[in-house]
Amino acid sequence: MTLSITADDLVLDYGDTRALDHLNLHLEGGRIYGLLGRNGSGKTSFASLAAAFRRPTSGEITVGGTAPFEAAEIVSQICLIREGGDVFESDRVSSVLRFAAAHRPYWSEERAGQLVERFRIPTRKRVTQLSRGMRSALGVTLGLASRAPVTLFDEVHLGMDAPSRYAFYEELLNDYLAHPRTVILSTHLIEEVSSLFEEVVILDRGGLVLHESADDMRERGAAVTGPSRDVEDFTSGMRVLGRQTLGATSQVTVFGGLDAEQRRQATSAGLEIGPVPLQDLFIHLTDPERETP
């Protein structure tokens, strides 16, 4: 069983601040999503609403067709891991794990044990005594071992060092293959994890900028390089995301995908067409100088 997540005209305000601004989004169940956005874009607000940590100001969010807020039977299907870990600070790691085992209906003791070993989490220490990296590793362990049909990791792995992060990506993929479920990974370290995403969701200023398959997104960006005037001529009328000029040479990043004919034209005009990494597309699409989505 997999669970979808749907946001319908979703609004969340914190006092005078609008964190989510009439967001509409449908995430099919059973996929790995990259939830991308700059700080303050609404990623954490969205995750908190999906996991019933908060109630929407207006609009609706549903998980598997049910609004999760104060709906125990659906909340037990959802596991949100935030950077702090949401655990009792003064507890020992071992009792944090016991608590999760008692409250998570799909908890895998075996999986938790493997991950504790792989990340070398000291189970006898208290949470307050753990380094930032170890706290992140504990969060990752709680999320993966929960085997919750909807598992959300909100920037939880950012405190880990590079080898641990890669171990996390590997464990996430293995777990997902063995136990397919809906996984949402919110991050701004896009490059190293983007190959895991089936779909990418980009939020900016509380709204949806883009939601599509990661492969399609990669195909849509193109960097056109050549003599400035030729580049300008070629890209006029296209959706330009960024422009860099160095002397007589310009590079213009366009979004929308070039067809074979356009690529031929470019090549015969002496222009170079290069691909654009996901991270660059993300930066361009969420540039504050850009007009509102």
């Binding site: 993929l173 293995n174 190959s195 089936e198 691909p275 996901l278 991270q279």
Partner: protein, 122 residues
Amino acid sequence: MFDDRSPIYRQIAERIKGDILSGALAEGAQVMSTNQFAVAYRINPATAAKGLQSLVDEDILYKRRGVGMFVSADARERLRTRHRERFFTDVVDPMITEAETIGVPLDDVVDHIRQHEIGEPS
């Protein structure tokens, strides 16, 4: 393993084609499963499946239900033919352009190629 510069599924397809061309993957041989690809290259299984499916669509691979995917009987020959057709536009034409740009006379290029032909590479 993969750069982020073109769709990963296409890179997977190109890699398998390369293995078939070089003979590393023999005709009739079984290729790795979607999940094996996903684990080996740390990619989403949907991406791996898309790469494999694109080769099935081109008849480079064929599926045996419940067993896996295999290299088609004439895959290597068809790939060789296709690459031969593209050889001049993809390899030779850019070389000529480069030679002209940096001022290497085409006669020198032709001489160089001829030397290879008579087995005396310089």
